[in-house]
């Protein structure tokens, strides 16, 4: 990142400050009117409106005016210019959603109630999963989905009871 880019960052920050405090005048962008979101086309799924999108760039709030006398402008230091670092390549507007695992919280919700958390992976050193579960307060643990941990040995939909 070069000095120009850093300056842009600072100016953008300052611009936003002016916008909020009303310090800047005519050259700041006018209050925005919500822009219509282009209709999504050929969307296979789902209901999330985050994607796919092909939007025009948002307005640049960079101001060109000075604040009135007597009010100090924000003093911004030229830190973290990152002259040796390249920006990450810009991403295109997404065409598909970012898939996340259903059990994003690391819990295997095939077991127990949905607020319980049988871990997807048991901690290192665990030799007996049922012993571990018992010692961590799990009682009458139901098996409602796929028994990937092989805890339902008698197939009665209750873990660790047989």
């Amino acid at each position: 990142m070069n000095r120009t880019r850093l300056t842009l960052a600072a100016v953008t920050g300052i611009a936003a400050i002016f916008t909020m405090t009303g310090m800047a005048v005519a050259t700041l962008r006018a209050p925005s009117i919500p822009a219509a979101i282009p209709a999504a086309t050929a969307v296979p799924e789902p209901t999330d409106t985050t994607w796919p999108l092909n939007l025009p760039p948002a307005a640049d709030p960079t101001p060109t005016t000075q604040p009135p006398p007597g009010t100090p402008a924000p003093y911004v230091q030229p830190f973290a210019d990152q002259p040796d670092t390249k920006d990450l390549a810009p991403r295109p507007s997404p065409k598909t959603p970012v898939k996340m695992p259903a059990f994003a919280d690391g819990c295997n919700h095939a077991y127990g109630t949905r607020n319980q958390c049988v871990p997807l992976e048991f901690p290192p050193g665990t030799t007996d999963k049922c012993t571990w579960l018992k010692s961590h307060g799990f009682k009458k643990l139901t098996v409602q989905g796929k028994d990937t941990h092989l805890l339902d040995r008698n197939a009665n939909h209750t873990a660790c009871d047989g």
Binding site: M1, R3, L6, T7, A9, T12, G13, A16, I17, T19, M20, S32, I37, E45, P46, D48, T49, T50, W51, L53, L55, A58, Q66, P69, T71, P72, A73, P74, Y75, V76, Q77, P78, F79, A80, Q82, L88, R91, S93, P97, V98, M100, A102, A104, D105, G106, C107, H109, G112, T113, R114, N115, Q116, C117, V118, P119, P123, H136, G137, F138, G145
Partner: protein, 698 residues
């Protein structure tokens, strides 16, 4: 005409006078309380009278950076004293600054003593308010380095004196240098600089509280929280907002039973608040007026057959402490389950990451315009389409960019280096290296170290809920003042004990960490667990940003504090902790309160008056105190969940001291102190903080 004969320097008469001065000085130093060595101007050529062959003052240099049209001139027209003053004229400027600086060399820069404070003073005239006193220090290991900005100087047509007390000189510092910067179009004249040791005597502290004197003490409240306090926000009136929503209880979700409560620490009572949606898993941040913006929440829990995961709401509300009620604002543009929330220097809010309405990752940058009190549409918002993960810790930098610290919640195989700098204005993301084990920083905690002006971030611990290793002891520190900031390994987190008092192994640390900024400038670190929603770790320590070391062995919360736990600073200087939600689905409703060691060290300074509670950027605000203080600071009240509060910050207030009347100089840069309500603390010479007064910045 005959000239008067000159007297030999060490004539008998002079020897007597010198001896008298020395004796008098010695008596004053020994007997006058409150100063260790006050009086002498430590600056070489502070009056700018001695000049070199070019006519420029000895021990001074022309300094600055950036693009400007400017001149330096030694002015002889009506200086404040003597024959010379320094005149810097900036005719045009696009960026950068100019200043006359003391030469950073062993001969010219004044020597200082670590642990001391100094009154830096100069006379000035200025046609612009775009000025600032900037100070540098010479570190015996690092060389000359930026220290801090002390104060903005108001426009002054006549010679005006500005005096600001430095922070306590850090260890390893042997010299300082400073100057007055002009960074706008105008004329700045300066003269008669002084630097005087203003160190206050440190009174002997007596403490009869036993272990609490060094470790502090916890107290478990005799009442429980009425709600599962998964989201906590300290309000501008000193109360605490406790938000559960469904509280990670699918039965409550199915019944549409969503809960919020306001805790009143002064009375130990609670007020139930009608909760319009499942705000469990939302993001939250205080707006500039002290109301709380809540974004997103829980649209659904995951299905047992894994056909879908958690789903995020698009709903958004504002909680008003004055009415204890939520008001709906327009929907966000995307669902947000575990979104970040960072208030910007203009009071707007940027939210990143989380899960959408369909359980997929939310890639939209979502922007709340404070002036318009609404979420902007996607088309109005600059987009990078980057997926930032869940509760990414996005910390506002002094230039308005966001530092993604790498601290996050859940997720595995995070891309790149795990940390980056994001510029909303240019849509640029630049990687930042050095974060150790980036995929084991799940529910670590990052914090902008005190003071915010120092632009350093500490990231502590973490684990990985997918692979579920032992949580680690790693810490990483980054100095965002560097041109190419890179994380550096910090000291290992102190080890604690597991249930039953079993000591941790040498490699075991913790996730679910809470870090709390304290009014003495230290960081209290508490709570945590070793594995995914299991195995609480009993350990607490005090991190000192000055020495970058942990003081291990602080008192530990007797209540386990793992998943869905939080700790935060109360306005009285204590720390409150809530929540614990282990894997068996239970939830610990107990409340703990920690009294740090400073509360056992003697009387608390009192802020007896404030010149006002509305503080403008770059202003000097007067308080009166009942005893000498060494420091004053603003602490932004916490809004924390899941070990994530990127808005927590401690803003130093360099002091202009006149006895017990103290001018507190607020930065001109809103990115250092985003607009809002802050807790103002004064720190006594015994290291004991006052109770906070509330002031509004911006």
């Amino acid at each position: 005409m005959t000239s008067a004969p000159s007297r030999p320097l060490f004539s008998g008469a002079n020897r007597v006078r010198i001896a008298q001065v020395l004796v008098l000085t010695l008596v004053l130093v020994v007997l006058v309380p409150g100063r260790s060595s006050a009086g002498a101007n430590l600056l070489a050529n502070g009056g700018l009278e001695a000049v070199d062959s070019t006519g420029f003052p000895l021990c001074w240099e022309k300094s600055g950076w950036g693009d400007s049209t400017h001149t330096f001139e030694v002015s002889h027209a009506a200086p404040h004293g003597g024959a010379n003053a320094m005149k810097v004229t900036v005719a045009a400027i696009s960026n950068g600054d100019r200043k006359a600086m003391m030469l950073e060399n062993p001969s010219c820069a004044p020597n200082v003593t670590p642990g001391h404070q100094y009154d830096a003073s100069a006379w000035y005239k200025s046609t612009t308010a775009n000025t600032v006193m900037t100070i540098f220090r010479h570190d015996v290991a690092q060389g000359w380095t930026y220290w801090t900005d002390l104060a903005t100087l108001p426009v002054a047509n006549a010679w005006t004196k500005k005096t600001v007390r430095t922070p306590v000189v850090p260890p390893g510092t042997d010299q300082i240098a400073w100057g007055i910067t002009i960074y706008g179009v105008g004329i700045l004249e300066t003269d008669d600089y002084t630097l005087i040791d203003a160190t206050e005597d440190t009174p002997g502290t007596t403490c009869s509280a036993g272990a609490a004197c060094t470790k502090g003490a916890w107290q478990v409240m005799p009442f429980n929280s009425p709600v599962r306090a998964i989201h906590t926000v300290v309000l501008k009136n000193g109360d605490v907002l406790l938000v559960a929503g469904s509280g990670n209880d699918p039965d409550a979700f199915a019944q549409g039973t969503f809960k919020t409560s306001v805790y009143h620490p002064r009375t130990g009572t609670f007020t139930a608040v009608a909760t319009p949606a499942d705000l469990f898993c939302s993001g939250h941040v205080q707006l500039s007026d002290g109301r709380v913006l809540i974004m997103g929440g829980n649209k659904d829990y995951p299905a047992a057959d894994a056909s879908h995961g958690y789903k995020g709401l698009k709903d958004s509300y504002i909680f008003d402490p004055a009415t204890s009620a939520y008001t709906k604002v327009n929907d966000m543009s995307a669902g947000s389950w575990y979104p970040s929330a960072t208030v910007m220097g203009n009071g707007d809010v940027i939210s990143l990451g989380g899960l959408g309405e369909d359980s997929s990752g939310t890639v939209a940058t979502q922007y709340f315009n404070a002036a318009q009190q609404r979420w902007l549409s996607l088309g109005e918002t600059k987009q990078t389409w980057n997926f930032w993960g869940l509760y990414p810790s996005m910390i506002l930098m002094q230039d308005g960019r966001l530092f993604y610290s790498g601290s996050h919640v859940f997720g595995n195989g995070t891309p790149g280096t795990g940390a980056s700098i994001y510029n909303y204005g240019t849509e640029a993301i630049t990687p930042v290296g050095g974060l150790q084990r980036k995929d084991e920083r799940d529910q670590s905690m990052s914090v902008l170290l005190p003071p915010a002006q120092d632009q350093r971030v500490l990231t502590i611990g973490g684990g990985n809920i997918d692979s579920n290793p032992d949580a680690n002891r790693l810490t990483d520190i980054i100095d965002l003042k560097q041109a190419n900031p890179v994380y550096q390994p910090g000291p290992l987190l102190p080890s604690g004990t597991m249930t039953g008092g079993v000591p941790q192994t040498a490699t075991q640390g913790k996730m679910y960490v809470s870090t709390v900024l304290l009014p003495d400038g230290k960081v209290f670190e508490t709570g945590g667990g070793l594995h995914n929603r299991a195995d609480p770790v009993y350990e607490a320590s005090m991190f000192d940003p000055v020495t970058s070391t942990f003081n291990a062995g602080m008192a530990t919360d007797p209540v386990p504090r793992t998943y869905h736990s939080s700790a935060f600073l109360l306005p009285d200087g204590r720390v409150m902790a809530v929540g614990d939600n282990p894997g068996d689905g239970s939830f610990d409703m107990r409340i703990s309160v920690y009294s740090p060691p400073y509360l056992f060290k003697g009387s608390r300074p009192q802020i007896t008056s404030l010149s006002g509670t509305q503080w403008a950027y770059g202003s000097t605000n007067t308080i009166k105190v009942d005893e000498p203080i060494t420091r004053a600071a603003l602490i932004r009240p916490e809004a924390v969940t899941h070990s994530s509060d990127p808005n927590q910050r401690f803003v130093d207030l360099p002091m202009t001291v006149n006895g017990t009347t103290i001018g507190l100089n607020l930065t001109s840069n809103p990115n250092l102190a985003p607009p809002g309500w802050y807790m103002l603390f004064a720190l006594g010479t015994n290291g004991v903080p006052s109770v906070a007064e509330w002031v509004h910045v911006g």
